[in-house]
């Protein structure tokens, strides 16, 4: 049984991965605008955003109820909901779906929290395999600098405080993200990540992404993927739905 199901549909799935502060969301947003400007049907999906699961995740986080297993399972539930209801139907319909984090986030994060690599890889076996997966490689210190500069507080689970790595939030965050970084690095070959040097300028990184998309998906983007006709132009350029 292969890890993740091959995408045999008209549409495409592009995902970005990397630790917090690697700049992947900025890059994915620029990429999706570029795709939309070519009149392609583009949709966007974000990790941990299913309305069906939101209340449960909120309850668990507020009361620190999660264990490594339940943390992993609730995120898989969230992912399954987005996949079943949104990602798969849209890819079937011919859209380019851009996902900010994918199953690989769980492969890295949940393993650091203590579930086994084998178990979490099996857990996501129902997922559609992305056509392209970008990994934004950034040194830990650079990512931490970006996070601490841009936000007031690091959240409890984001810092891996549930793991008792350190009582100091910043220190815990540093250890936790460092371990996630190691997991990502170890997955590059296994999962065929396209590695982007996330210390480069925003423009350089975006150019690299666009070059890779053109090289790898160019043909199917020109014909196959759903695109807007003249009459649909307004609809295509309207703000996309985010789930």
């Amino acid at each position: 049984m292969p890890l993740l199901l091959p995408n045999r549909h008209r549409g495409k799935l592009i995902v970005v991965e990397g630790i917090d502060g690697s700049g992947k969301s900025t890059q994915l947003s620029l990429l999706s605008q570029w795709l939309r400007a070519q009149c392609l049907a583009v949709a966007f999906s974000e990790w941990n955003s299913s309305p069906l699961v939101r209340e449960t995740t909120k309850r668990g986080k507020k009361k620190n109820m999660f264990t490594p297993v339940t943390f992993s399972l609730i995120h898989a539930t969230d992912f399954a909901d987005r996949l079943e209801r949104y990602i798969v139907p849209l890819v079937k319909a011919g859209a380019v779906v851009c996902a900010d984090r994918y199953a690989y986030t769980a492969f890295a994060r949940d393993v650091v929290r203590g579930v086994s690599r084998r178990w979490v890889r099996n857990l996501y076996r129902f997922a559609l395999r992305p056509n392209l997966a970008f990994y934004f490689r950034v040194p830990l210190e650079v990512a931490i600098g970006r996070i601490l500069g841009g936000r007031n507080a690091i959240k409890f689970y984001e810092a891996g405080m549930d793991m008792g790595l350190s009582r100091n939030v910043e220190e815990s965050f540093r250890i936790f993200q460092g371990r996630i970084l190691d997991e990502y690095e170890a997955m590059i070959q296994e999962l065929g990540f396209h590695v982007i040097d996330a210390t480069g300028s925003i423009e350089e990184q975006q150019q690299q992404m666009r070059d890779i998309v053109t090289r790898e998906l160019g043909d199917s983007l020109r014909n196959g993927v759903l695109r807007a006709g003249r009459g649909d132009l307004d609809a295509a350029q309207a703000a996309p739905r985010i789930l």
Partner: protein, 230 residues
């Protein structure tokens, strides 16, 4: 005998759980919807408490973390089959780690109305991959005994009609539209659940109990068997 051995995990040990600490007994009552499980669980609880055992009873979707979320999700019309399976698995893991394991540590008899087997059978009945869901659920603790109350689907139909008097949307698998109406869908869905449970019986050492016997007969059978665990 089983009782002298420490409990085991199916294949993925839970972090932070020492099997040797689990001193209680884990007893599972399994079976399809409307087969009469809860009646037996209630009687067994009273009986075990009379014998001086402390009893925790638990069942699907009753956990503090995900129980409420599952019932809310079931009220809507967007719950997909994989999402549902994983939501139930989340609830199960929460109850296992936060209720069942602590109770076993404290020496309780844990009496559970369904376990991973119904969860897996429902997933398989909905067309999900057996190996996938078995591995997902493999962090479960192997129970001391699993009693499978078995009936044919026609028995379940009469129980539903004579009891509640109406078919339930989820018990009929209407999310998958197995048949033209609730009766047809119930028959098809529950047959698939029964088949999936039957196939697990040997592999997981179920004690199969004929659920068409009277509740008293079933209770006495359970008493005799459970009595041997102590």
């Amino acid at each position: 005998m089983l009782l002298k051995q420490p409990l085991e995990f199916y294949s993925e040990p839970l972090a932070g759980v020492d099997r040797a600490e689990l001193q209680g007994k884990l007893i599972v009552i399994e079976g399809p919807d409307s087969v009469g499980r809860s009646t037996q669980v209630a009687r067994l609880r009273t009986w075990l408490e009379h014998q001086g055992h402390a009893v925790l009873d638990t069942g699907l979707a009753r956990g503090a973390l995900a129980g409420k979320g599952i019932s809310q999700a079931k009220e809507g019309n967007t719950l997909g089959p994989i999402t549902m399976t994983l939501f139930y698995a989340t609830d199960f893991a929460d109850r296992l780690e936060n209720e069942i394991v602590p109770a076993l540590r404290a020496g309780f008899v844990v009496l559970t109305d369904r376990y991973i087997f119904s969860l897996m059978a429902r997933a398989i009945a909905r067309g999900e991959d057996r190996a996938w869901i078995e591995r997902v659920a493999s962090f479960a603790v192997v129970p001391h005994a699993i009693y499978y109350l078995r009936a044919e689907v026609r028995d379940l139909v009469s129980r539903v009609v004579l009891g509640r008097g109406a078919f339930d949307h989820w018990e009929s698998g209407m999310d998958m539209r197995f048949g033209a109406d609730m009766h047809d869908s119930f028959v098809k869905y529950q047959s698939r659940v029964i088949l999936a449970l039957d196939r697990m019986a040997k592999r997981y050492n179920f004690v199969v109990i004929d659920a068409t016997k009277t509740p008293d007969q079933i209770f006495r059978e359970l008493q005799r068997s459970i009595g041997k665990l102590f």
